[in-house]
C-alpha cells in the first residue's frame, strides 16, 4: 500500500502529524510499511481506546514508547521483533494469526534501526482509530497474497539434463530441484511404473499380464497407450469421482436424529462419475454445480435419457440438517453456512463462511461477502428435479393434448344424448339422512336434497341464496384481514409463484379442465374448476409449487386443494424437512377441501413459504408412484377461513316455486354445463355441478357404457400415457424468491442489519446480481471468470495432489493466508494456464502429469536428497504412500476376483458410516476434504487381521489360485500371488519364507494342553464331589427314609394340570378344552405327535395366565437343528410368546424364547446330549415376578433367569402350540423336528418337588442341602463346608478351562486353511496397500 492510497481516507489524521523532525522518506516508510501492519495486526488488542492487552497500546507514538516493546535503534533487543519472530521466550505475535512474512519483519527491524521514526504524535480518537483499520485498506493489503495475483504464463526453463526436458512440467520441477541442490532419482522399474499408474488412475493394481507385456517392451508409446486405456476405463470416473465427492462432502442422509435420507442422492454420485469419465470441461461442470437446472443448453445424455446438467446442483442439498428444529432461522443459517462453506472451499479454496460473524480474520473477504453468497443460496429452494431429457419430457404431449380434445367433445355429445336418463337418475336422488351433501349448503346438489320435499320452496330457496351471499361477504372480510391470501385461480397471483416440474404449466387451467384416468373403469379422474392442476396430461408428471415468503402472523393457515400422493406445507425459514410435530406436511385427498396446514401459530413471526409437492418429489420422505395435486386458494390469518362453494343458487338468479321448477332448473343448468364444457366456456359453478353429476354417476363415464369409438380413444390415450416413463429424479435446487439476506451482526439472527445485495467476492470486483432470479447463473460465471485467480489454480493443484501425494500448494482447500504458498508457483500457473487454454480438461491435465518424467521417478531416495529435502517438496523421488480407503478395498477385491461393487458405491449414511472405509480415513461428510488424513491406528490392523473383508477375500483369492491348473507347485502359486498383489515376483528370501510359512503345520499344542488341563480339572472336581457324597451319604439316606415314612408313599400324584395331551389316539386335551389341530407336516404315530415341519395349534385359552408351567416329553430327530419350539404359549397372531426352544442362540442348548428376544437367553448349562436318543422331560415354570426356571429330566437347567415383567396371556386370545417357536404358519427355522409323547399345562409355577414328581411319577420330599448339613455330625459338617469351598473353586476353574478350550477350538476351526493362510497374510501386508 502506498502512502498516497492511504492518505485518501486519512486526511484528518494527516493534519495532526507533526513531521518536522522526520524526513519524507521516513514518513513514507512508516506509512507504507509499518502503519498498515500495526493497524491491521496490532490495534485490535493494543489500543488506547477500548482494549490494551498487556497494558500497552501501539496506536500512537508515546504509547508505543511507553510500552517498552521497542528499543529504538536496536532491533535485536526489541521484544517486539522477538515476538514477531516467534522467539520461544515471547508470546508469538500477532496472536492467533499466521507469522508475518520475513519481509515484513525485516521492515520492522529496519524501522527500529532507523530509530523508529513515528509521525503519530496524537493519541487517536475512537473515530480515527476506526478509520485506520478501515476494511477497504485491510482488504487491499490482504489481496497482495499470492493467490489473488493474476495467473502468469511463465516459459518453462530449459533443463541441463536432457531427460528432464521431457515435458514442461519436468523442466519446472528440475529447475527447483537442482536449485535446492538435489539430484533426481533414477526411474522406477517398468513393472512398478505400471502398478503405480493403475493405482493412481483406477485405484486397483494391474493384471500380471499387463505388467509383463509392458515390461518386455517398455516404450513411451506403449506406456501412453496404457495411460489412455486407463483414462478411458469406467473405473477412472469411479476412482477420481470419489475425490470429487470428498470436495463436495457427498452424503445420502442429513444426519442428526433419525438421519433422514436425501432422496435420490446417489444420482449426484453417478453423475459425477459419468462426467469425469466423459471428461466434461471443468468450467461446464462448475456451471452445472451452481445452475445446471438453468442452463440454456443443458448437457443431454441420450443413452439414459437424462438432462445431466440438471443433476449438478445436488451437492447443495447434502447439508447436515437438524431434526424437528425449534429455531428455524438458526437452522437456516447453519445449513446455508454449510452450502457456502463447502462451495467456496471446494472451488476456490476460500473459507468464506469464516466471515459469517465479522470480516475474515486473514483473507480479503468481508462479512458482506458471506451474506452475498447466503442470499444466492436462500433465493433457491431445496427440491427434487425431474432430470429427464427435454425430448422425454415432450414425448407424446401433443398427441395426448389432441386426444383429450377429441375425448371431451365425444364425451360431451354422449352426455347430451344421455341427458334425460341423467335427470331421471337425479330425480330419484334422496341421499341418506347422514349424507354430507345435506350438511354442505354450498354443494350444488344440496338444494335438491333440501328442497325436494320442502313445504315452502320459494322462501327456502331465497334463504339459501342469502346464506350463500353472507358467506361470500364473510370471505371477503377474511381476505381483507388475512396475513396471507393467494387466489391461484387468478393468473396474476399464480405468476408470482415458483413452479417446477412437468406438471405445472405457466397458465392457470380454465374451469372444465379435466384429467383422463390412467386406469380403472371410469374415463375421467375429474373435471375441475379454475385452478392449478398437475395431472391434466399425466399423473406421472412432477410438480413443486412454492409461494413467496411472508412473515407468519395469526393462528391458522389452510389451503383449498385436492390431490393424491401429494402434500401441502409451509416451510419455516426454508427448512426442507417435515416432521409431524413441528413441521407438518398435510396429505391431500381426492376431494376439494380446505386443508389445515397446522402449527402456523407456533411459527409466528418467522418467514415462511408454502409448498405443494407431488409425493415422489418431497425433499423429506419421497413416496413413489403416481401423484398429483390441484389448488385454488391459500389463506393465513387469525380466523378459520369460511368455506364458500358453488351452490345451485349461484348458477342463475331464478324463482323456484315447486319441485317441478327445481328439477327443470337443474336440467337446464346441467345441459348448459355440458354444452359450455364442450365449447370451452364453462364457469366454476357449472363445472362443480357437472362434476357432481359425474361423481354421483347420474351422468356416467363408466367405460363400458360409452360408445365404442370413445372407448377406443381412451384406450389410445391410456396406452400413450403408459408409455411415458416415470421421470428420473435428482436432488437439487429450484428457483425461489430472490432474497437479499440482511447482514447479521456478529452472526446473530436476532440482530439483522440491512440486506446485502447478492454478488461475488469483492476482492474480484463489486458487481451485484439481478433482482429477478437467484443469481446462481451469475455466480457460476464469476466462479469461472478470468478475473477469478483461484478456480483453475485450485483444480490443477487438486489433481497434482492426488497424483503426487502432495499439492504444489499443500493446503489444497485453503489458498488464503492460513494456507501454504506454492512450492512451484511458476509450475502451478503454467498448469492452470494450460488447463484453461486446452479446454478445462481434467483428463488432459492428468495425462500430462502421469506421462511426465517426474512421475517416473523411483520411490527410493538417496540419503543426500533425503537430508536436503526431507519432506520431498522438490520431488527428487516419487512419494510413496498408503492408498485411500476405497482403493484398499477395491485392490483387495480385485486380486481376490471378488464381484463386490467398487467402494465408491458404498452408501454414505451420515450416522452409520462404513466402518472399514472410515477406519482408513474416508472423510466424514461435513465439509470439503481435499487431503485425506493418513492415520495409523490399531483399529485398522484389527480390521485387516480379524475383519470379514480380508477373510473372505483371502479365501476366494486362495481358491482362485488353487483352481488354476497351470500353477501346480506351491512355488508357482506363491509367485503368482506376488505378481497379482505387488506386480513383481517374490525374492528368493520371500519365496523361502512363504514356503516355510505354508509348510509349518498349525500349532495346536495349546489345545492339547488345555484339553489335558480341563480333563485333570474335571477329574479333580469329580473326586471332590465323591468325597462330599461319601461324607453325606449316610445322613442323606437317613433323612430320605424319614421323609418317606412321613409322607407314606402313596401321596396321590396329581399335580393338577389345567390341560393335558397324551397323543395316544388324538390331539385332544384330556382335561380342559385346549384341543389341537395339526397344520403342516405333523401326524400322530405310535402314541406320539410326530413333527416333520408341522405343528399342533390348540383352541384359545379359557383362562387368563400369568403364572404357569409347561411340561413336555420330547425326543429330537437330531441335535444339530436350531430354533425349533417344543411347546409354546402365544398370542393368537403368534407375535407374543413364551416357548421351550432348542438350539436357537447356542447350538445344543435349551433356552427360553420370547418375543423380540426379550427373554431369549440360553440357560447356562451343558449341551444336550441325550434328547436324540430318548425322550427328555422339559418343564419350564414361569413365576409372577418374572423368574423362569427350567428343568430337564427333573434337574435344573442352569440358573433361573429373571425378566422385567412376566407376560400375561388373556383368555380367548392365546393358545398352546407344539413344534413351532411361534407364529401361525409352521415351517422355516422355527419348527422342531422330533416327536412329543405327552404334555401338560399348569396354571401355576411348579415347585422343585413337583417337578421331580412329574419326572418320577412319585411325590418325594426333597432333601435339601441345608437339611443334610444341619443333620451332619459337627466334624463332618466342618469338613463338608471346607469341601464346598474347594468344590466351588474347582467348578470355577473347570468351567474356565472348558470355556477357554471351546474358544480355542472355535478359533482353530475359524483359522484360515491351506493357501488362504498365505493370502490372508499378504492381504495384511503393507506393500499391497501402498502406491510407490
Amino acid at each position: 500500500m502506498t502512502f498516497k492510497k492511504l492518505s485518501a481516507f486519512l486526511p484528518a489524521f494527516l493534519q495532526l502529524v507533526s513531521a518536522t523532525e522526520l524526513t519524507s522518506d521516513q514518513i513514507e516508510f512508516f506509512e507504507s510499511k509499518i502503519r498498515p501492519i500495526l493497524a491491521e495486526s496490532c490495534y485490535e488488542c493494543h489500543n488506547s481506546i477500548d482494549k490494551s492487552k498487556g497494558d500497552f497500546a501501539l496506536d500512537y507514538k508515546q504509547a508505543l514508547l511507553d510500552s517498552e516493546i521497542i528499543v529504538p535503534g536496536k532491533p535485536d533487543e526489541s521484544p517486539l521483533i522477538l515476538a514477531l519472530k516467534h522467539d520461544e521466550d515471547y508470546e508469538a505475535m500477532p496472536s492467533k494469526s499466521p507469522k508475518l512474512s520475513n519481509l515484513t519483519i525485516k521492515h520492522f527491524e529496519d524501522w527500529i534501526r532507523m530509530g523508529a521514526p513515528d509521525p503519530r504524535d496524537q493519541k487517536p480518537t475512537k473515530e480515527t482509530l476506526e478509520n485506520e483499520v478501515n476494511w477497504d485498506s485491510v482488504r487491499d493489503q490482504r489481496s497482495q497474497w499470492w493467490s489473488f495475483q493474476p495467473i502468469q504464463n511463465p516459459t518453462p526453463p530449459e533443463a541441463s539434463n536432457p531427460e528432464w526436458n521431457h515435458s514442461s512440467i519436468d523442466q519446472f520441477v528440475f529447475e527447483k530441484m537442482t536449485a535446492a541442490g538435489l539430484t533426481p532419482e533414477p526411474q522406477t522399474t517398468p513393472e512398478n511404473l505400471i502398478r503405480r499408474l493403475h493405482l493412481i488412475l483406477i485405484g486397483q493394481p494391474p493384471a500380471p499380464e499387463t505388467v509383463s507385456t509392458f515390461s518386455e517392451h517398455p516404450t513411451q508409446e506403449a506406456y501412453e497407450k496404457i495411460v489412455d486405456k486407463l483414462l478411458n476405463s469406467p473405473r477412472f470416473g469411479e476412482r477420481w469421482g470419489r475425490y470429487w465427492l470428498d470436495w463436495f462432502r457427498y452424503a445420502e442422509t442429513h444426519g442428526s436424529e433419525g438421519d433422514p435420507a436425501i432422496p435420490y442422492a446417489s444420482q449426484y454420485r453417478d453423475y459425477v462419475i459419468r462426467a469425469l469419465n466423459a471428461d466434461i470441461p471443468y468450467d461446464q461442470l462448475l456451471h452445472e454445480h451452481l445452475a445446471g437446472d438453468l442452463l440454456d443448453k443443458p448437457r443431454i445424455n441420450k443413452d439414459l435419457g437424462l438432462n445431466e446438467s440438471a443433476i449438478g446442483t445436488g451437492h447443495l442439498r447434502m447439508v447436515p440438517l437438524g431434526f424437528g428444529v425449534t429455531d428455524a432461522y438458526q437452522e437456516q443459517i447453519s445449513f446455508t453456512d454449510n452450502q457456502v462453506d463447502a462451495l467456496t472451499k471446494a472451488t476456490m479454496g476460500m473459507t468464506v463462511s469464516c466471515a459469517r460473524c465479522h470480516n475474515h480474520k486473514f483473507d480479503p473477504i468481508s462479512q458482506a461477502d458471506f451474506y452475498k453468497f447466503y442470499g444466492v443460496m436462500i433465493s433457491s429452494r431445496h427440491g427434487t428435479l425431474n432430470i429427464d431429457s427435454p425430448e422425454l419430457k415432450k414425448k407424446n404431449r401433443a398427441e395426448l393434448t389432441q386426444l383429450k380434445t377429441a375425448i371431451k367433445d365425444e364425451l360431451a355429445n354422449h352426455w347430451l344424448s344421455q341427458l334425460e336418463q341423467a335427470l331421471a337418475n337425479f330425480e330419484k336422488f334422496q341421499g341418506n339422512p347422514a349424507d354430507e351433501i345435506r350438511k354442505q349448503e354450498d354443494h350444488p346438489l344440496h338444494a335438491w336434497l333440501h328442497l325436494r320435499d320442502h313445504q315452502n320452496l320459494a322462501k327456502e330457496w331465497d334463504h339459501l341464496t342469502q346464506n350463500h351471499h353472507s358467506r361470500l361477504t364473510q370471505k371477503k372480510e377474511a381476505i381483507d384481514k388475512a396475513t396471507f391470501y393467494a387466489d391461484l385461480r387468478e393468473q396474476e397471483h399464480y405468476d408470482r409463484w415458483f413452479k417446477n416440474g412437468t406438471g405445472l404449466s405457466s397458465k392457470v387451467a380454465p374451469a372444465g379442465a379435466f384429467a383422463v384416468a390412467p386406469e380403472g373403469d371410469r374415463a375421467l379422474t375429474g373435471i375441475y374448476p379454475r385452478g392449478i392442476y398437475t395431472h391434466l396430461l399425466s399423473s406421472k408428471d412432477n410438480a413443486t409449487l412454492g409461494s413467496i415468503f411472508h412473515k407468519a402472523k395469526g393462528t391458522h393457515t389452510s389451503v383449498h386443494a385436492i390431490g393424491q400422493n401429494a402434500t401441502a406445507r409451509f416451510s419455516a425459514r426454508s427448512y426442507p424437512l417435515s416432521q409431524g410435530l413441528l413441521h407438518p406436511a398435510s396429505g391431500l385427498n381426492d376431494n376439494f377441501a380446505w386443508v389445515n396446514l397446522g402449527k402456523y401459530d407456533y411459527w409466528n413471526n418467522e418467514q415462511v413459504f408454502y409448498q405443494l409437492v407431488t409425493g415422489p418429489d418431497q425433499t423429506f420422505s419421497n413416496t413413489p408412484g403416481r401423484a398429483w395435486f390441484g389448488i385454488t386458494e391459500i389463506f393465513a390469518g387469525e380466523t378459520k377461513f369460511p368455506n364458500v362453494g358453488h351452490p345451485a343458487t349461484s348458477l342463475k338468479s331464478t324463482t323456484i316455486e315447486n319441485r317441478g321448477n327445481l328439477l327443470a332448473f337443474y336440467r337446464q343448468q346441467l345441459q348448459d354445463a355440458i354444452t359450455r364444457w364442450q365449447g370451452n366456456s364453462l364457469d366454476d359453478s357449472h363445472t362443480v355441478l357437472l362434476e357432481s353429476f359425474r361423481k354421483q354417476s347420474f351422468l356416467t363415464d363408466q367405460l363400458t357404457s360409452l360408445p365404442t369409438s370413445l372407448q377406443e380413444k381412451i384406450a389410445t390415450y391410456r396406452a400413450l400415457e403408459a408409455s411415458l416413463r416415470v421421470p428420473a429424479r435428482a436432488p437439487g435446487l429450484i428457483e425461489g424468491e430472490p432474497w437479499d439476506q440482511p447482514l447479521l451482526v456478529r452472526g446473530s439472527h436476532k440482530d439483522e442489519k440491512d440486506p446485502v445485495a447478492r454478488g461475488f467476492l469483492e476482492v474480484f470486483g463489486a458487481n451485484t446480481y439481478s433482482k429477478e432470479n437467484s443469481g446462481r447463473l451469475e455466480l457460476a460465471h464469476d466462479l469461472t471468470s478470468p478475473k477469478n485467480t483461484l478456480t483453475t489454480r485450485l483444480l490443477v493443484n487438486r489433481l497434482w495432489h492426488h497424483t503426487f501425494g502432495r499439492g504444489l500448494v499443500s493446503s489444497t482447500d485453503n489458498f488464503g493466508r492460513l494456507g501454504k504458498p506454492p512450492s512451484h508457483p511458476e509450475l502451478l500457473d503454467h498448469l492452470a494456464t494450460r488447463f484453461k487454454n486446452e479446454g478445462w480438461s481434467l483428463k488432459k491435465t492428468l495425462r500430462e502429469l502421469v506421462t511426465s518424467r517426474t512421475f517416473f521417478s523411483s520411490s527410493q531416495v538417496s540419503s543426500l536428497n533425503r537430508e536436503k529435502d526431507p519432506a520431498n517438496l522438490y520431488l527428487s523421488h516419487f512419494p510413496p504412500r498408503r492408498l485411500d480407503a476405497e482403493a484398499i478395498q477395491d485392490s483387495m477385491n480385485f486380486v481376490a476376483d471378488s464381484d463386490a461393487k467398487p467402494a465408491v458405491y458404498t452408501r454414505i449414511i451420515r450416522n452409520n458410516l462404513d466402518p472399514f472405509l472410515t477406519a482408513f480415513n474416508a472423510p466424514i461428510p461435513t465439509t470439503t476434504v481435499g487431503v485425506r488424513d493418513d492415520t495409523n491406528v490399531p483399529a485398522q490392523s484389527l480390521m485387516l487381521l480379524n475383519g470379514d473383508l480380508t477373510r473372505q477375500n483371502a479365501e476366494s483369492w486362495a481358491r482362485k489360485i488353487e483352481q488354476n491348473p497351470v500353477l501346480k507347485s506351491p512355488e508357482s502359486q506363491i509367485k503368482q500371488l506376488f505378481l497379482e498383489a505387488y506386480s513383481r515376483p517374490p525374492s528368493k528370501d520371500e519365496l523361502a519364507a512363504c514356503l516355510t510359512f505354508l509348510n509349518t503345520p498349525t500349532d495346536s499344542s495349546k489345545i492339547d494342553t488345555l484339553t489335558t488341563e480341563a480333563q485333570r480339572a474335571r477329574t479333580h472336581l469329580d473326586q471332590l464331589q465323591e468325597s462330599r457324597h461319601q461324607l453325606t451319604a449316610a445322613t442323606r439316606a437317613k433323612l430320605e427314609a424319614q421323609a418317606k415314612l412321613n409322607h407314606a408313599d402313596h401321596e396321590p400324584l396329581d399335580l393338577k394340570p389345567i390341560a393335558q395331551w397324551d397323543f395316544e389316539n388324538d390331539t385332544l386335551d384330556s382335561i380342559g378344552a385346549l384341543h389341537g389341530d395339526i397344520r403342516g407336516q405333523a401326524s400322530l404315530t405310535d402314541g406320539a405327535l410326530v413333527l416333520q415341519s408341522g405343528a399342533l395349534f390348540t383352541k384359545p385359552l379359557s383362562a387368563t395366565l400369568t403364572e404357569r408351567s409347561f411340561e413336555v416329553l420330547v425326543q429330537l430327530d437330531d441335535l444339530t437343528q436350531t430354533g425349533g419350539g417344543a411347546m409354546t404359549l402365544q398370542s393368537l397372531d403368534g407375535n407374543i410368546f413364551d416357548s421351550i426352544v432348542f438350539g436357537e442362540l447356542s447350538p445344543r442348548r435349551w433356552l427360553s424364547g420370547s418375543e423380540l428376544h426379550r427373554r431369549t437367553k440360553p440357560f447356562e448349562t451343558q449341551d444336550e446330549d441325550l434328547a436324540h436318543q430318548e425322550p427328555v422331560r422339559l418343564i419350564y415354570t414361569y413365576q409372577k415376578d418374572g423368574t423362569i426356571h427350567a428343568y430337564r429330566n427333573g434337574k435344573p437347567l442352569g440358573k433361573p433367569i429373571r425378566m422385567d415383567q412376566p407376560i400375561t396371556y388373556q383368555a380367548g386370545k392365546a393358545q398352546i402350540v407344539f413344534g413351532l417357536r411361534h407364529g401361525t404358519n409352521p415351517g422355516g427355522g422355527r419348527s422342531l423336528i422330533g416327536r412329543i409323547f405327552e404334555a401338560r399345562l399348569y396354571d401355576r409355577a411348579l415347585t422343585e418337588e413337583e417337578v421331580m414328581a412329574a419326572n418320577t411319577g412319585r411325590m418325594i420330599h426333597l432333601i435339601r442341602d441345608q437339611e443334610i448339613l444341619a443333620a451332619l455330625p459337627e466334624k463332618a459338617g466342618t469338613q463338608v463346608i471346607a469341601l464346598d469351598q474347594k468344590i466351588a473353586a474347582a467348578t470355577q476353574s473347570t468351567d474356565d478351562l472348558t470355556a477357554k478350550l471351546h474358544a480355542q477350538q472355535q478359533s482353530l476351526s475359524n483359522s484360515p486353511k491351506g493357501l488362504s493362510r498365505l493370502t490372508h497374510a499378504l492381504l495384511n501386508s503393507k506393500e499391497l496397500i501402498y502406491v510407490h
Binding site: G324, S1325, K1326
Partner: protein, 470 residues
C-alpha cells in the same frame, strides 16, 4: 508470554513417568503435520475424565435445582411467556414428585430422587445455570460433546486425548462404554468422533454386554497362527520399507499391528470383572436384579478400571426402560410419565455413581479423576401433557466432582421457576474450558488447524468456572 522454561521442566518432571509415545505425537497448539514439543499449559489437577452422560435430558427441577415455587403454583399456567418447545404440548406448572432437603455439611438441596448421590453432596460442584442452544436431541448431543450442533467436529474426549495422549499403549485413550440396553445417542457414533483430529483420538465404543466389546477384537484365528502370520507379514513389510522412501510410515504401521495384537488381550482383560471382590461388586450393584442397573453398575466399575489403566476420557451410557418416550438413544427423555421414568432411571444410576465416587476415593483416584454429570438439556418446569416434561435448554443443571473441583459448591442459578438460567449463565464452552483447565490445558491454546481455521473445542468462547475449583 508462553510457558517459561522452568514450568516446562517442571512439567516434564511431573509426567515423565506417565507420558507415552502416543502423547508425544499429540501436540498442543500445533498445525497438522508440524512438530513442536508437547507441553501442558499449567500444572494439571486431573489426569482423567469420566463423563456421565444422561442422554435424553435429565430434569434439573426434579434433581439438583429444587424450586419450591413449583409446588405453590402447581397446576397453574406458567406466568411468563414460553419459548418454542419441541413437542408444543405445553401444560401447566408441575411440581416435582420428589421432595428435596439440605444434604451434607454444605446443606445443598437435592431431591430424594437420587438418595445415594445426594449423600455425596459435599463432593459435588453443581452448576445450576447451564444453557444449551438446541432443543432437539441430536443437535443437543453434538453440541454438548463438541460445541457444534452436527457431525464433523471432534468430541471433547477426542480433544482431551489429542492434548494428553493415552498412558496405556494397549487401550485407546477415549473409551465410550455401552451395554445391551443402552445405545448410541441420537446423532450416531460421530458424537464420539475425532472429526479432523487424528483418528487415534476417536472414541472407541466398548459394548460391555456382548462377548466382543470392540469390533474385530476377537482373534479370527488361533493365536499361535496369528503370531506366525504377523511374523511373516512384518518380515515382508520390513523388506518393503527398505525399498521405499516411507520407512517410518511402514514401520509405525508394523508397530500398529503389534499393538492390535496386544489389544486382543487387553480389552477382554479390562472387561472381565470376575476378579473384583464381592464387596466391590455389591457396592456398585453389579448383581442387582434390575438388569439396567446391573449393566450401568458394570459400566461404572469398568470406568474405574479404565481410569486405573491410564485411559484419559471415559464416557458412560445409561440404559433404557422404554418409559414415557425414553428409548435406547435417549433413556431420560420422559415426555410422559416422568415420575415412573425418571424414578426408574434414577434408581439405575444412583447407587453405581455413588459407588464410583466412593471407590475412586478409596483408591486415591478421586483427586486425579474429574467426573462430569450432565444431559444435553434439562426439562421444563411445566408439564407436557399430564405428567411428562418437555426439553428445556434455557436453564438446567450439571455437576462436577473430583479432579480438583471444590465439593459442596454451587455456580449460577435459574429463575424461580427453574425455566431459564439468570445468574452466571453457563455454557458448554465453559464446561469444557473448565475441564481442560483442570487437565492442565488452556482451552484457548488447544487448537488444530484444519480447513484453514485454527479450531478449538470451545470455538471462540469459554470461561473457566473458577468458583468451583479448589
Amino acid at each position: 508470554m508462553s510457558i517459561n522454561n522452568q514450568t516446562r521442566r517442571q512439567f516434564a518432571k511431573l509426567t515423565s513417568a506417565g507420558l507415552s509415545g502416543l502423547s508425544l505425537s499429540s501436540l498442543i497448539n500445533s498445525a497438522a503435520g508440524e512438530t513442536s514439543t508437547p507441553t501442558l499449559h499449567h500444572l494439571p489437577k486431573a489426569k482423567s475424565v469420566i463423563f456421565l452422560y444422561m442422554s435424553g435430558g435429565i430434569s434439573h427441577v426434579d434433581t439438583f435445582d429444587p424450586k419450591p415455587l413449583l409446588k405453590k403454583l402447581h397446576g397453574q399456567p406458567m406466568p411468563v411467556p414460553l419459548e418454542r418447545t419441541q413437542f408444543d404440548a405445553n401444560g401447566n406448572i408441575q411440581a416435582s414428585p420428589w421432595d428435596f432437603k439440605p444434604r451434607g455439611q454444605s446443606g445443598i438441596e437435592i431431591t430424594d430422587m437420587l438418595p445415594k448421590i445426594a449423600e455425596r453432596a459435599d463432593d459435588l460442584a453443581i452448576v445450576r445455570s447451564m444453557t444449551a442452544k438446541f432443543s432437539e436431541h441430536a443437535q443437543g448431543n453434538f453440541f454438548m460433546h463438541s460445541g457444534f450442533p452436527f457431525l464433523g467436529y471432534p468430541s471433547a474426549g477426542a480433544w482431551v486425548n489429542y492434548a494428553l495422549g493415552s498412558e496405556n499403549h494397549n487401550l485407546p485413550g477415549f473409551v465410550v462404554l455401552r451395554s445391551e440396553k443402552s445405545s448410541i445417542p441420537h446423532g450416531g457414533v460421530s458424537i464420539f468422533g475425532n472429526a479432523f483430529l487424528p483418528a487415534t483420538h476417536q472414541g472407541s465404543i466398548f459394548n460391555i454386554s456382548g462377548n466382543q466389546a470392540v469390533p474385530n477384537i476377537a482373534p479370527s484365528m488361533l493365536k499361535t497362527e496369528q503370531r506366525r502370520s504377523l511374523d511373516l507379514i512384518s518380515q515382508l513389510d520390513l523388506k518393503f520399507s527398505d525399498r521405499i522412501a516411507a520407512r517410518d510410515a511402514v514401520t509405525s504401521s508394523i508397530q500398529n499391528a503389534e499393538t492390535a495384537f496386544q489389544m486382543q488381550e487387553a480389552v477382554p482383560e479390562l472387561t472381565d470383572i470376575s476378579k473384583e471382590t464381592d464387596s466391590i461388586k455389591k457396592l456398585y450393584g453389579i448383581d442387582d436384579p434390575d438388569q439396567q442397573k446391573s449393566e450401568y453398575a458394570k459400566q461404572c466399575l469398568i470406568a474405574r478400571r479404565l481410569v486405573e489403566r491410564g485411559v484419559r476420557f471415559v464416557e458412560l451410557s445409561c440404559c433404557s426402560y422404554g418409559i414415557g418416550g425414553g428409548n435406547g438413544a435417549n433413556p431420560w427423555d420422559q415426555h410422559g410419565d416422568i415420575k415412573k421414568g425418571h424414578g426408574a432411571m434414577a434408581n439405575q444410576i444412583d447407587q453405581p455413581i455413588a459407588a464410583l465416587i466412593q471407590d475412586l476415593k478409596a483408591r486415591g483416584l478421586f483427586d486425579d479423576t474429574l467426573i462430569v454429570f450432565t444431559g444435553e438439556f434439562g426439562r421444563t418446569p411445566f408439564a407436557q401433557g399430564s405428567n411428562g416434561r418437555d426439553h428445556d435448554p434455557y436453564g438446567f443443571s450439571l455437576w462436577l466432582a473430583g479432579g480438583g473441583t471444590k465439593g459442596g459448591t454451587i455456580h449460577g442459578a435459574t429463575d424461580d421457576l427453574g425455566y431459564k438460567a439468570i445468574t452466571n449463565t453457563a455454557t458448554v464452552y465453559d464446561l469444557w474450558a473448565t475441564v481442560l483447565h483442570q487437565l492442565g490445558i488452556n482451552h484457548e491454546k488447544l487448537t488444530f488447524r484444519w480447513g484453514g481455521r485454527d479450531l478449538r473445542l470451545t470455538d471462540v468462547h469459554g470461561e473457566v468456572w473458577h468458583s468451583l475449583l479448589s
